[in-house]
């Protein structure tokens, strides 16, 4: 930008100095350039005309048929042929309607569809095979719904043992709602708000974990564990990913009013430190704004390479940022931890649900009603498509080593772009409290001690001091591929729970 341009901008439009900058015109709101790996593109899916299609439940069966639950309360189905090609508005078939703001949906192998309504987990059955559900069966409704807009039921998924699992959002401004402390945001009016529930294959229902806030995304890993994301806010310093385990507490005290060992007077006498001691450590922290504000469900790429080089990794959409990011996990000292890294942005609306199509495309269900999104459309469905040929140049994976990290790339790195100063590294922690989100605590810059590149150029090892309880952001924007390309995303955020 020329000095003349700057002067003109500053002089004539004090309020909007950056608007007209060509350089910044593609930035998102934290200054990241628009990003998507080489060879990938976004495609908007045509939807039924004149239908508010806020897609908050999304699943694709093995045959490739797509089912969507909308906030209006419909369930729509796109058959496998249409979903494999270019869907037209008339291809969508209305399967069910009148549901109470569902925020989750799952195909069953028998062709029935499970839907997480606010007040009930429901099985939809098409008895006569005419493509429309006849029976709406009550699978579970053991929690209380207080008619509050925020009391979502994010469900279901089926874990490795065959249990159905869902998570229950706390409420906001609910009469009789409880929250610890003087600055309530998310509250529970009782009835197991802020809990996770489970239904065994035998039909036994139980609430098995507490401390959830806005647990908007539940997913099951290929090894059968249930993971969930929670949204930044009170008691959640930044958005995060956890493994949901029996009896565990995930940090938001409002839910504990329904715990048999606690009561409101007991809770009122407890301290932030007490709750901190009880709380589970996230598998990864998801830095606010830079990666996500309101993450949805974790979705594993099990397409066997049909979506490109990221097989086995977790993809998550963000409702606020209208982006998709990846989560790269490993096990260190028997503990799961790992990193988050942005994948693609500039989606048309807020990304809340992801599902992989067996053909390899990543489908994205979207809504921006009530909660704004960077993408300006109120709702929609898009899919991320890989062209099947172009090898992107991106960070493939990151692994902790005894003295730092090993960064794996999808293509060979140009050794000439490497030096200790090629890496800019920051480290920080988060402050757990009833405040709405946390600043970065003890933000420090670190020096890289050493840099080594593997013979094949695909891996770069860096020597760096690590401290448990921090997030380490590694900026490698100076790196180039052997064929001269720059990665579309060049900052990875590793959550150091433990060191080797």
């Amino acid at each position: 930008m020329s000095a003349m341009t700057l002067k003109k901008l500053a002089g004539t439009a004090l309020v909007f100095p950056i608007l007209c900058s060509g350089v910044l015109a593609q930035d998102d709101m934290v200054g990241n350039t628009a990003y998507i790996p080489d060879g990938y593109r976004l495609e908007a899916i045509a939807l039924p005309a004149d239908v508010p299609f806020h897609a908050t439940g999304l699943d694709i069966n093995e045959a490739g048929a797509v089912a969507v639950a909308t906030r209006l309360g419909d369930v729509w189905i796109l058959d496998a042929d249409a979903a494999a090609g270019t869907p037209q508005p008339g291809d969508w078939q209305l399967f069910a309607e009148g549901l109470n703001e569902p925020t989750g949906l799952m195909w069953e192998d028998d062709g029935t569809i499970l839907v997480g309504q606010k007040s009930e987990l429901t099985r939809l059955v098409d008895k006569d095979g005419d493509g429309v559900a006849d029976d709406y069966l009550n699978l579970a409704s053991d929690w209380d719904f207080h008619d509050n807009y925020h009391e979502y039921n994010f469900a279901p998924v089926r874990d490795g043992d065959g249990n159905l699992v869902g998570t229950l959002n706390l409420g906001h401004n609910v009469p009789g709602g409880y929250s610890w402390g003087e600055r309530p945001v998310m509250v529970s009016a009782g009835g197991h708000r802020g809990w996770a529930y489970r239904i065994t294959p035998d039909g036994d229902f139980s609430f098995f974990a507490s401390g959830l806030r806005s647990p908007a995304g539940v997913g099951v890993s290929p090894d059968g564990l249930v993971y969930y994301t929670d949204n930044q806010g009170d008691w959640v310093p930044t958005s995060k990913l956890h493994i949901l385990e029996d009896g565990a507490f995930y940090g938001h005290p409002s839910s504990l009013r329904d715990h048999p060992d606690y009561s409101i007077p007991i809770l009122d006498d407890m301290s932030v430190e007490d709750f901190a001691q009880m709380s589970e450590t996230p598998v990864v922290w998801i830095p606010h704004q830079e990666v996500a504000n309101s993450p949805g469900n974790p979705e594993w790429d099990t397409t066997g390479g049909a979506f490109g080089p990221f097989e086995g990794q977790i993809f998550v959409g963000d409702q606020t940022q209208s982006n998709v990011f990846r989560i790269l996990l490993e096990t260190v000292n028997g503990q799961r931890q790992g990193a988050v890294i942005n994948f693609a942005n500039n989606f048309q609306s807020g990304n809340i649900r992801l599902a992989f199509h067996p053909g390899g495309d990543l489908w994205v269900g979207q809504t921006a009603r009530g909660w704004g999104a960077v993408g300006s459309k109120p709702f929609g469905i898009e899919r991320v498509v890989w062209d099947g040929e172009t090898q992107p140049f991106e960070l493939l994976d990151i692994a902790m080593t005894a003295d730092g990290f090993r960064l794996d790339f999808t293509g060979a790195v140009d050794p000439a772009s490497l030096s200790a100063s090629a890496f800019s590294i920051q480290q920080w922690g988060y402050d757990y409290s009833d405040a709405y989100g946390s600043d970065k605590i003890d933000l420090t810059s670190l020096e890289t001690r050493s840099v080594d590149i593997a013979d094949d150029g695909l891996s770069v090892s860096i020597g760096i001091d690590q401290m448990p309880g921090t997030v380490m952001a590694i900026d490698f924007s100076a790196l180039r591929s052997a064929d001269g390309r720059k990665p579309s995303v060049s900052k990875v955020y590793y959550t150091v729970n433990t060191t080797m």
Partner: protein, 482 residues
């Protein structure tokens, strides 16, 4: 449940208070102006760009508003004669589908800045010429010359209204922040809690998700020509509202509705800063911002979500005249976990899945779920027509014991059968039209009898209960019009 089915109550109750509070805010204008100026100067500095002439080195990090890209404002030089020709053709050819106000009908909204099929003059012209036969829009190429259609495009583009490239940033403030001496410069120091864009959408103050906050929105705003315009802000006072248009602080004029900030037609840079400091107890913190004609009070269009709810009645009526409708929503006067049913006969009722009771019945149109699907959906849906009864009145089987709702089966005609269990016994209940009212039929499975029911005693309604075999039938008829 409360009877609050409207977004208007706070405003209705508080108009006079709004005036008082807005006037109070006005007295602080001088202080606020300095704060805003510093704040906006900080906006420049925080990007690392050199401060412009007259801009002091800012110490306020407007990080949340920075970096959100925004297109250049669309400046269009319009020729009055061309616009008049375009207006005439529009009135002939376009108005039926796109509406007199261009806000859409069968056709799309043409003034909201959303161009589904391309936004450039050339793209719009091409689309008008070729039409969208699949979507029901014919091409006009054979009917008008390129020059005439160009006039129509210019006329449409001159009517553009609302935000372009809108952004917001939110900072928490203490609950006890005093109104006196409130400073946006101080309140907006540090990273905002939330920030982002709403582009061509609406500023949404509910997004703050907290009771006490300062929020700044900015963007380009398009004001169509044709009538005097002002930006009406119903803010409920508090730490105040500060409005800047094209970089200049604007003093409002006041009427009973609140503060109105005059604005010329055309394209402007608009910033609205707001804080909840010492807001009155009735005020939600959700600002109505609407562009209106200050001379006539006629409302033109909204700049905030609450303003839109105020303008629209957000109606979304579920019509049961053609087929039965079964809807699970939060509904006025019906308890939580109720399934509402509308039948083509004009009979409507609610079945509660917790009590397994009929918890309300009404005659006439079915349900407006608009309030429950607008914004975050924090208002209940509204039953239309006339109540016969509603909670706490109810019709229920007299059996003791906890009921368990099993599910709903839709019959071939779409009408629902509700199944439930009490003490291991299975029952169903359906609603059916009857000559002068409605009937509810309970049936027991497995050879039992549904047995007695409790029914409400309602003025002007005759209720008969008939037990026969497995079935118990409750017939309700009006004996006088409500």
């Amino acid at each position: 449940m409360s009877n609050n089915n409207s977004n208007h109550h706070a405003g209705d109750a508080g108009d006079s208070n709004a005036l008082v509070w807005a006037l109070g805010a006005c007295a602080l204008a001088a202080v606020l102006c300095v704060g805003i100026y510093a704040l906006l100067s900080g906006f420049v500095a925080s990007r690392g760009a050199a401060p412009g002439p007259g801009a002091p080195a800012g110490d306020i990090a407007m990080a949340g508003l920075t970096g959100a890209d925004r297109p250049d404002p669309v400046e269009i030089a319009f020729d009055e004669a061309s616009l008049a020709r375009g207006r005439a053709i529009y009135a002939q050819a376009c108005v039926a589908c796109h509406g007199q106000d261009m806000r859409g009908g069968v056709g799309l909204n043409l003034v909201d800045g959303e161009w589904v099929h391309g936004s450039s003059r050339e793209e719009i012209l091409s689309n008008i010429k070729n039409g969208f036969p699949d979507l029901g829009m014919v091409g006009f190429e054979s009917l008008y010359s390129d020059e005439e259609l160009g006039d129509v495009v210019d006329y449409i583009r001159s009517r553009r209204e609302g935000w372009e490239g809108g952004r917001y940033a939110i900072w928490p403030i203490a609950a006890d922040t005093p109104r006196e001496g409130f400073s946006f410069a101080e309140a907006t120091q540090g990273e905002p809690t939330k920030a982002g864009r709403f582009d061509t959408g609406l500023a949404d103050y509910a997004i703050a998700e907290m009771e006490n906050f300062a929020m700044v929105v900015d963007g380009i705003v398009h004001i169509p020509a044709g009538a005097p315009a002002g930006i009406w802000v119903q803010a409920g006072g508090g730490g105040g509202v500060e409005v800047m248009i094209d970089g200049n602080k604007v003093e409002p004029v006041y009427d009973l509705a609140g503060a109105i900030y005059p604005i010329d037609h055309g394209t402007h840079e608009l910033t609205i800063a707001y804080s909840t400091a010492e807001k009155p107890g009735w005020f939600s913190g959700n600002l109505n911002i609407v562009v209106l004609n200050p001379e006539t009070g006629e409302r033109a269009f909204a700049l905030s979500e609450a303003g839109k709810s105020f303008l629209d009645d957000t109606s979304f009526v579920i019509d049961a005249q053609q087929r039965p409708r079964v809807i699970r929503r939060v509904v006025n006067n019906l308890p939580s976990s109720t399934i509402s049913v509308g039948l083509p006969s004009g009979m409507n009722f609610g079945f509660n899945t917790r009590s397994c009771a009929i918890v309300g019945a009404w005659q006439g149109d079915f349900l407006d779920i608009g309030p429950n699907i607008d914004g975050r959906g924090d208002a209940p849906a509204v039953p239309l027509g006339e109540w016969m009864f509603h909670e706490p009145e109810a019709i229920a089987l007299s059996q003791d014991g906890q009921c368990r709702y099993v599910g709903t089966s839709l019959q071939d005609d779409g009408s629902p059968v509700f199944s439930f269990e009490i003490d291991g016994m299975s029952y169903t209940v359906t609603g059916q039209p009857a000559d002068a009212g409605m009937a509810f039929v309970y049936a027991a499975a497995g050879g039992g009898a549904a047995g007695p029911v409790s029914v409400p005693d309602i003025d002007g309604v005759e209720t008969r209960v008939e037990e026969s075999g497995a079935q118990t039938r409750v017939l309700m008829e009006r004996t006088q019009t409500p």
